[in-house]
Symmetry: C2
Subunit: 424 residues, 2 copies
Amino acid sequence: MADYHKMWEELGMDVETHDQLCEVLPQAFGDVYLSQENRPEGMDYYNFVVAEIHGVRPAELIEHQKKGGKVFGTFCVYVPDEVVFAADAIATGLCGGSQFWVPGGEKVLPTNTCPLIKASVGARLDRTCPFFRIADMYVGETTCDGKKKAWEILAEDVPVHVMDLPQMKRKKDVKAWADEIRTFRKVVEEMTGNQVTAESLHSAIVLINNKRRALSRLYDLRKNEKLPISGKDVLLISQIAFYDDPARFTEMTNKLCDELEQRVKDGVSVFPAGTKRIMLTGTPLAIPNWKLHNLVETSGGAVVCEEMCTGTRYFERLVDEAEGTVDEQIDHLAERYMGINCACFTPNSARIDDILRLAKEYKVDGVIDVNLKFCSLYDTEGYHVERALKEAGIPVLGIETDYTDSDSQQLRTRISAFIEMLNS
Amino acid sequence: MADYHKMWEELGMDVETHDQLCEVLPQAFGDVYLSQENRPEGMDYYNFVVAEIHGVRPAELIEHQKKGGKVFGTFCVYVPDEVVFAADAIATGLCGGSQFWVPGGEKVLPTNTCPLIKASVGARLDRTCPFFRIADMYVGETTCDGKKKAWEILAEDVPVHVMDLPQMKRKKDVKAWADEIRTFRKVVEEMTGNQVTAESLHSAIVLINNKRRALSRLYDLRKNEKLPISGKDVLLISQIAFYDDPARFTEMTNKLCDELEQRVKDGVSVFPAGTKRIMLTGTPLAIPNWKLHNLVETSGGAVVCEEMCTGTRYFERLVDEAEGTVDEQIDHLAERYMGINCACFTPNSARIDDILRLAKEYKVDGVIDVNLKFCSLYDTEGYHVERALKEAGIPVLGIETDYTDSDSQQLRTRISAFIEMLNS
């Protein structure tokens, strides 16, 4: 592994504290990932990316900035990356998936805040995430109470642009979201000094759609009875999708899919026949949160689908690629993004349709409804989700957890019992 | 007290369970309220209203329905009662201020939900609140994650209309709110079969403004060094304002103010000289939540102002009374209502301006920042509120509590120590 200490110091990071994270991550990754048997060769790329996650990609972003380019840090699948790339800027995810950052967040946020938000704020304020240090601007949204108020705290020392996501899904709300994207376009143009043109926006739409196509192809391969790839490997790929260069990510993911298609032809599976097929639904699993996938796949189950922001919500449905004016293309963006079914909307019944559809498409034996502690939205919506699954005759297990390991043993007992029940 | 059992049975209430509430309430009210010395005579009216709160007013609402009128149940100070009254309908608050209803809410909602929402949902589902049984429609809004999702559960057996409150306060957001009020007008017209006309809307605006004027007059009297009325008495009046007939409430409150003005002239105070003046800021205190006021006023303090929905947010600023078309008047409504500074907005810095201004106007010695447990919005915003108060040299105590009595002793210790500190 290359040495990035000089770069981290130049970014004003707390290198000493960050080193503690660098020390534990390879061990965790090795335990969860490298211990798997018969992994696809194409996973080597993602292994490399995660090994150098705070080095290689940050270095690329800094290189981009040295050439006068800008970097936008985003937190949510509703923010249209297309607008950023259309202005020759780069959109990137930000840190927020590890307990390592949570105590830093708790210095300013209520303990009763979800770990994702606490970790993000902690990673920022403790200066232990290079992406937070690099980004010229953070783009927030009004998706939940916790994030809405967290922007105000983050905005104290970096520019934050907040997009007001409507809370309902009527026709006028899609229009309102298009309007927010128009405002965002202006913000991006001002920040970068570059124009978003009809051509550049069209190219960016194709660029990001291609990423969606690659992920969709990858997920389709999980619909096979013989699974050519583990759920945790796919989760890792989904997580990296938020950070990596989109064109390279698409290329590498398609390359992996070539290999997986050959596996399907050859009847190769990474799981023994009869392994129970589990879908996860609920709150996002940001890198390096691999806890639940690891528990399921070391308890006799295989994760075949994630109805999550780190999952189907990220890539399903393409933006209309019809050429047209910037305004027309922004309408297409609004249509696609407002089609994501997050629990922040009321009502959000289309998510239940999604879950039932995905359970069928991925031939799911059971569903785990996952809630990150203190996420009121998904927790409350779980009432309807779990009821709908029961009515459809699909076994469901509701789980609430955070980023600590303190509940691992208890979760393992519950997940094992659930899979045992599916087997009986 | 009259016997309303027949009415409650006809409303389909769980009368047996409701009787348990009826049994404990008079004792609680007696302990907190009737034990006060030298109360204004004008409080007799509110004593009567609270004694018969599930009887007299529900009977009036049923009478109104018998004549073909409709009743709208509301939860939030952003819903414009004016539109309801302009269609010859009645708007009323709904139950949600007692621990009695919380376990019922926890049957369907996460425990990590604020007690106000849990109590409301419990009061509805357990059929122990006449207002919930009477209302022809509930009007919800998208002010917080918990309520947004609670509507979906309530909507399963009653019509719920949800108004999408913008999450920011730009010019276009005020327009969007006006648009939501226009939609609400149509819903109200359809439900009632009555038209909202320029005349009827103007009358309703004056009707509700007069209620605001009366409350404003009452609050102004608390700015006197010698306090003619206790904080808990004013809290009770603020709470009743959500339920009572607006014209009668205005009349009785003005009558009380006449008496209080005389007290001011006579130099009468209900507190000993030098009693420390406390402002509460934060989440609402729905009836019968008198816990904090009682603790403060039996620990050597006087509550002189509430920067709360049950307080200044409810009545400050009038709707423009200029005559005009319905559309013009709706714009005035939107202006006034979007001027309320709830933590659901980002940013919400005008609330801090309000708090600092009120602290000055009411000659406050110290502020208690109150958060109902699991309200992320006010809890997170507390970070900025408490910092601003400290910077302004105003002592502040942050408190998080729920509807149970289990923390009373601990709160008393902390509040006493805070007031002791103000005295030293």
